[in-house]
């Protein structure tokens, strides 16, 4: 049980880190939409349209880091199942 929780915490931390890097390592707040520019040929104005997209920021990393630490800490209170003691014949 203890080992499983610790592995889960590590997996959570690693997968979030990979997700953060893969989505552009945003050092600001987490975004749920991103501005997309498109040029109007006639006027030369760049229109801005917000499209839904999840971009994790440092706040998200921090929250997951805190969660993983809590999980790891909780695991210390769990005991591994007792292994059967072998007695010498």
């Amino acid at each position: 049980m203890r080992r499983t929780l610790q592995l889960l915490a590590l997996l959570l931390l690693l997968s979030t880190g990979v997700l953060w890097l893969a989505t552009g390592a945003n050092r600001g707040w987490t975004k749920t939409s991103v501005p997309v520019k498109h040029l109007d040929e006639v006027t030369g104005i760049e229109g801005i349209e917000y499209r839904p997209r999840f971009v994790p920021g440092l706040d998200f990393l921090g929250a997951v880091g805190f969660g993983a630490a809590a999980l790891g800490g909780f695991s210390l209170f769990c005991r591994n199942p007792k292994t059967k003691e072998h007695t010498q014949p």
């Binding site: 600001g28 707040w29 939409s33 006027t43 104005i45 229109g47 917000y50 971009v55 920021g57």
Partner: protein
């Protein structure tokens, strides 16, 4: 008969050239391209976003750009940033209070230092900028581009002209009663605004 006709023709031509009525441009963009971007660069945090709920009318005379007058309105609720919590805070009663002050407006009274080259007019627009119920006189550097007969290129089956208005200027949120003097390390006092909008005058 012939001299009379000549005088009449000359009179028509002269009054037509000199007394052309100003064109009325509507800035409610059916294509939703018109936008105003804002940027706040504080020591600890940079915030940027845009607004596209733009409307208003501008009276522009291509023969006399100095006589330009009008009003541009931005719906406060159309101000958007990428973080939903930040957007909620920005629109709350603590900051912009969009429920109580649904409009941000600039009333142009006159153009100063007008310079026209071809279809482009550069000037300073003098007028009243109203934000969160506070009105202040501002001089904003603007660039107006008059695109004659270009409306049909943008909106098929509609003949007329386009007027592109561009401006970049800064305001201080403290001047407009927006959390004056507070949390300036995270939310800068200076707000940089960039306007890029087009109005249409159909015929």
């Amino acid at each position: 008969m012939k001299p009379k006709l000549l005088i009449l023709t000359l009179f028509t031509a002269l009054t037509g050239a000199g007394g052309a009525a100003p064109l009325d441009f509507d800035f409610k963009d059916p294509k939703g391209v018109n936008n105003i971007t804002f940027k706040l660069d504080a020591p600890l945090e940079a915030i940027s976003g845009s607004a596209n709920g733009i409307s208003g009318r501008v009276s522009f005379d291509p023969g006399n750009p100095a006589a330009t007058k009008g009003r541009i309105v931005v719906a406060s609720s159309s101000l958007t940033v990428s973080n939903p919590m930040q957007k909620e805070h920005m629109q709350s009663d603590k900051w912009l209070d969009v429920a109580k002050y649904p409009e941000i407006a600039f009333d142009v009274k006159e153009l100063k230092n007008v310079k026209t080259e071809g279809e482009v007019t550069s000037a300073e627009a003098a007028g009243t900028f109203t934000l969160k119920g506070v009105a202040r006189e501002l001089n904003v550097p603007v660039k107006l581009t008059y695109l004659k007969d270009k409306l049909s290129a943008r909106v098929p089956n509609l003949k007329g002209d386009l007027l592109v208005l561009r401006a970049s200027f800064s305001i201080n949120r403290g001047d407009f009663n927006i959390m004056a003097g507070q949390v300036e390390d995270k939310v800068a006092n200076a707000i940089d605004l960039t306007v890029a909008i087009a109005g249409a005058a159909a015929r």
